[in-house]
Amino acid sequence: MYLKIAQFILILILSPFLFGVINRTKAFFAGRKGSPLLQLYYDIFKLLRKGAVYSTTTSKFFIAGPIVSLSAVLTALLLIPFAGQPALISFDGDIVLFIYLLGLARFFTVLAALDTGSSFEGMGASREVQFAMFVEPALFLSLAVLTRITGQSSLSGIFSNARMSSWVTYDPLIILVLGALFIVFLAENSRIPVDDPNTHLELTMIHEVMVLDHGGVDFAYIMYSAGIKFWLFGTLLVGIFLKGYSCGQVTASVVFILGMILLAVIVGIVESTLARLRLLKVPHFLIVALALAIVALIISMR
């Protein structure tokens, strides 16, 4: 139990670090030196010391947005197993809770964006919801495939090492699910083929435009929940990738964290080598994830 709590705290501390790795990778490809690895920590601490300014047109939803999103994402983090170990909370069917907690986080971000009354934020909110329409079924179906393969309906059950041996016979399926989840991962974390986290042109932004009016502590919450969300989806990918890898707990944790850093490097490479898709093409890209997940589900049904 204490170990699990220690691991949870470790994740809380480590997750913003991965953004530093992504930025460093992108800087390497662009031939720049890049910001420090701990930049997101500096940003968060700087913002936490500042006060927030609220527009007179906003209501309580605007204040609730970042807080509810952060708490929903943190609750989802409680359900996610770490390095093959069962999570702090786990029960049958917690997959559904996991997906809906992420949905709740998104819903409140969108509400807060709409609450500002800015037309740009409304546009961002509309895009976010439109793309979520394709991403959420893909995530749901991918997890459903994993459930069918392992016969477990809790995240800890799916990713615990004991059941991993049965995964080997289903290898092609796992690759399909990994493909679908990687696209979901890029879309949910507003990474490049879908959304550019560095863009500051309101017309093309999706996620970033929704949080333009937040400042100070609220913005720190948003940045931190982005870090946690990255960790959540990364755990799904790395957990599948490291299937059947069993060794001591400490080694497994180290390997898992190295896997997360490798994932961040891969995201950095994807971001430096791919161009952002045109907004009209994004649904097409997301439907690919949906198609992969449906195909995997059909194959697993035999």
Binding site: P172, V288, I298
Partner: protein
């Protein structure tokens, strides 16, 4: 039911989906060529003692034809007719991708209704071969350009070959050789036909072929 067979069959399925979502004709030709090579290898994926010399000959023939000769003919036709992109199908590419997934679901259901008397290379071979077949048929009806319809025709043939290859009997491979010859002649003739159509009409959009040339001229006169 070996893993390698499953793996190849799933790649074939993904190639179908790629084909449905790609608008570039050169990419489509490459996909169908790759698929032909993969499917040609299918009979050889089985246990070593089951492979007969006749199978090796027919497999290598189909790989050479579908992987190299057909793409060469099609690339030449594309170059001569100077076409790059297919026109947008009805409902757009995302819809046709989803239809591809539905086709796969349908084929999966269809394959469970069949009774198999022989062991298959992979349990997915039958549904994927149906899916390839129907995807080819769907491409023929949904795409406008004649060249893409030829590619759909090739896809359809890939599906038939995969079905035969999955059952591993020499007779089906003999039949397959005859079909291959037909297809070869067909692609050859279609390549020439496309070139002539594009020279006469400046485009290969099949929807406009029904308009007679005389009527267009008479409209211009009015």
């Amino acid at each position: 039911m070996n893993n390698l067979g499953d793996f190849v069959v799933i790649i074939v399925l993904l190639m179908n989906l790629m084909m449905l979502s790609s608008s570039r004709i050169r990419t489509c030709i490459r996909i169908v060529a790759g698929q032909g090579i993969l499917i040609g290898c299918m009979p050889l994926l089985n246990d070593f003692h089951l492979i007969l010399p006749g199978m090796v000959i027919s497999a290598s023939l189909s790989i050479i034809l579908k992987g190299f000769v057909f793409p060469w003919l099609l690339f030449r036709a594309v170059q001569e007719a100077n076409i790059k992109k297919e026109v947008e199908p009805v409902g757009g590419y995302p819809l046709s991708l989803l239809i591809g997934v539905m086709i796969f679901a349908l084929s999966f259901w269809l394959s469970t209704r069949l009774v198999y008397t022989k062991p298959l290379v992979s349990h997915l071979a039958a549904p994927v071969s149906f899916a390839t077949f129907f995807t080819g048929a769907f491409i023929i009806v949904s795409r406008m350009k004649a060249i893409t319809q030829v590619i759909g025709y090739l896809l359809l043939e890939n599906g038939i070959y995969l079905f035969g290859a999955a059952f591993l009997s020499e007779q089906s491979l003999l039949v397959e050789l005859a079909i291959l010859l037909d297809i070869f002649v067909a692609v050859f003739v279609m390549g020439i036909a496309i070139f002539h159509i594009s020279r006469e009409f400046d485009h290969i959009d099949t929807q406009k072929l029904s308009e007679l040339k005389d009527s267009i001229i008479s409209k211009q006169d009015i």
